[in-house]
Symmetry: C2
Subunit: 316 residues, 2 copies
C-alpha cells in the first residue's frame, strides 16, 4: 500500500522558470503584486528570480528587489536560483532564504548550458557552502539535479549518474537536493523508481520534484512521486515556462491544476484555490498573447469539491 | 510495491465518444479510413459507434456499416454502445463483438440522460442478456458505470452506490463491467480506492477504465488505475470528446499520449506510435476548427524513446 504525504508544498517557480522563457518582461510592480497575491492565496515558498548576469536574462534583473519585498511577507520561504559562486554571493547579500544551484546530470547538457561538467558544479557548490558558512548566514543551499530523466542533446542519462551527482552534492555541503525533469522526458514509472532510490540516499534532504508537462505527464509524475513520500513540488501559475527544444510545448506543471489534484486527494497545501485562480486570471491578462496552460481555469472546480478544501481552511 | 500489468489495451472510442460531441459529421468513408488506419497502427479494440435513434445522433447513423467494415479486419474486437434493448437488438444483428450499455450511478444524471433509474438500466441489461442468449450470439455485454466519481447535476455519487450498481450489473448477466469518470471529477486517489474495490467484486470481469481530461488528470488517473491491475482504458485520438457542462474543457484521455505513457513505462500496447501520430494528423485535418487535445503530437517523442517501443515491435 502506498503512502501519501498528508501535507505538500507547492513551490511557485513561475517568476523564475516561467518568466525566463517568455520574451516579455513583467514590471517589478507586477511581479511584486504576483508575489503578494500568491502569498495571500496561501503559497509559502516562492522562487522569485535568479541571480544571473542581467545581460543574459534581463527579465530577471530585479531579483534583489523582489527578494527584499518577499522577505516582508510573514512565513514565506524566499528562493532564488544561482548559477555559480558570484550569483550565490549576491543571493546571500539579498537575504534570500534558499539558493538553488542547478546541476545537469547530462554531461553534454551541462557543458552546453552551464559551461561546466557536473563535477565542476559540485565543486562550485562546495565553494558556495564555504561562502555561506563564512558569512554566518542561515541560507539553505539546494542542489537541483536537472535532465535527470534524459536530455534533448545527449539523450539517455543513467539513473546511476543522477544518484552519483546527488551523493556528491550532499558531500559537497548541499543542505537539500532536488530532481528535475527539465525537458519532459519522465514517465511515472521512472519517477517512482528514481525517487525511491533518491529518498534512500538523501532521506529528508531530498527536497523537491520538478516536472515539465511537455508530453502531458507532469501530474501523473507528481502522483508517482507522492507515492515515494516526496512532499514538495515546483510548479508555475498557468503552467508557464517551456522547453526551448520543443517550441509550443507545455511548460511546467500548472500550480492551480496541481493544487486542485492535491486538495481533491485530501492532501493539505494551505492554498486557497479560488484565490489562486483569480491570480491566474490576472497574470494571464498581463501575459496576453503568450502560450498558457492548465485545465482547471477553464473547467472550473467540480460541484463536489469542498469549499473548505478549495479555500485551504483544512490546513493548520 | 505496486503491480503494473505487462500488457494494456487502449480501446479507441473517438468514433463514438469523440464524434458524438462534435457538431460536424464525418463521412462514412473517412470513418472507415480511421478504423482501418487505427487497426494498421496496432489498435485491436475500437468502439465504432452507437445504436441510438439517428434523429438523436445523426453523426453516428452509419454504425451498422462501420461494424460491417470493422469485422473484416483480423483480430479486431468491435464494440458499439447501446442505450437499450432496441439498440442491443440492432447491435446483435450487426455482428458487433461487444455491446456496451451505459448506466449512470448518479440517479439524477441517469434520469436526465437515460430517462431511467440505475435499477431500470440493470433490468434492461437482464433483458439484453436474455435476447443475446436467445439469439445464441457470442456478443459480449459490458455494463459501463458512468458518473462514478460524481456528476455535474447531482454532485456527489457514493462509492457504495457505484459498487452496488456493479454487483447488480453482474447479477443481471453483464459479462464485463467498467467504470467511467464521465465529467472529469476523479482524482488518482479516488480512482485507486474505487478500482481496488471494484476488482475485488468483479475480478477479471472488471474490464475497462474511462477517464476524461477535463481537469488535466486523465493520465494520472490511468496511472493510479494501473496500480490496481486494470489493463484496459478507453481513449480518443486527439482527446476529442468533451463534457457538455464544461464548454471548451478537454475531452477524453488522448490515445496517443496514453500510448506514449504506457510504452515509456515499458508496458506493451501493440501500438505503433508513429503510425498513430500520422493518423492523428489526418483526423486533425478532417476536424479542422474543432478543439483538439493532447501534448505528444506537438512535443514529439523523446530522443531516448526506443524505436522498437514506439513501433509496437516489442509486442507479441
Amino acid at each position: 500500500m502506498s503512502f501519501f504525504p498528508t501535507d505538500v508544498v507547492i513551490r511557485e517557480v513561475g517568476l523564475r522558470d516561467g518568466l525566463q522563457s517568455i520574451q516579455r518582461t513583467l514590471s517589478t510592480e507586477r511581479k511584486i503584486e504576483w508575489i503578494r497575491d500568491a502569498w495571500s492565496a496561501g503559497q509559502r515558498e516562492i522562487e522569485v528570480g535568479s541571480f544571473v548576469p542581467a545581460r543574459l536574462l534581463p527579465q530577471l534583473a530585479d531579483t534583489a528587489e523582489l527578494v527584499a519585498f518577499a522577505k516582508t511577507l510573514p512565513g514565506l520561504l524566499v528562493s532564488v536560483l544561482v548559477p555559480n559562486l558570484k550569483g550565490a554571493e549576491r543571493a546571500l547579500e539579498s537575504g534570500a532564504d534558499l539558493l538553488l544551484v542547478p546541476l545537469s546530470a547530462s554531461r553534454e547538457h551541462s557543458l552546453a548550458n552551464l559551461r561546466k561538467t557536473p563535477d565542476e558544479v559540485v565543486a562550485e557548490v562546495a565553494r558556495i557552502r564555504a561562502a555561506r558558512d563564512a558569512a554566518g548566514a542561515k541560507t539553505l543551499i539546494e542542489g537541483g539535479i536537472g535532465t535527470a530523466f534524459g536530455c534533448t542533446i545527449q539523450g539517455r542519462v543513467e539513473e546511476s549518474e543522477v544518484l552519483r551527482c546527488m551523493q556528491a552534492l550532499l558531500d559537497a555541503g548541499a543542505d537539500r537536493v532536488s530532481i528535475a525533469d527539465t525537458v519532459g522526458y519522465a514517465c511515472p514509472r521512472a519517477v517512482r523508481e528514481l525517487f525511491e532510490k533518491a529518498r534512500r540516499i538523501a532521506g529528508e534532504r531530498f527536497w523537491c520534484g520538478h516536472f515539465h508537462d511537455t508530453r502531458g505527464l507532469a501530474l501523473a509524475n507528481v502522483y508517482a512521486a507522492l507515492e515515494t513520500g516526496v512532499a514538495r513540488f515546483d510548479a508555475t501559475l498557468a503552467g508557464i515556462g517551456g522547453c526551448p527544444h520543443a517550441p509550443g510545448a507545455s511548460g511546467n506543471a500548472s500550480s492551480e491544476d496541481l493544487a486542485f489534484m492535491l486538495a481533491d486527494m485530501g492532501i493539505e497545501t494551505g492554498i486557497d484555490i479560488h484565490a489562486l485562480l483569480r491570480l491566474r486570471a490576472k497574470v494571464a491578462h498581463w501575459l496576453e498573447g503568450e502560450t498558457l496552460h492548465g485545465a482547471l481555469w477553464r473547467a472550473g472546480l467540480p460541484k463536489t469539491f469542498a469549499r473548505e478544501a478549495a479555500s485551504g481552511a483544512l490546513s493548520a
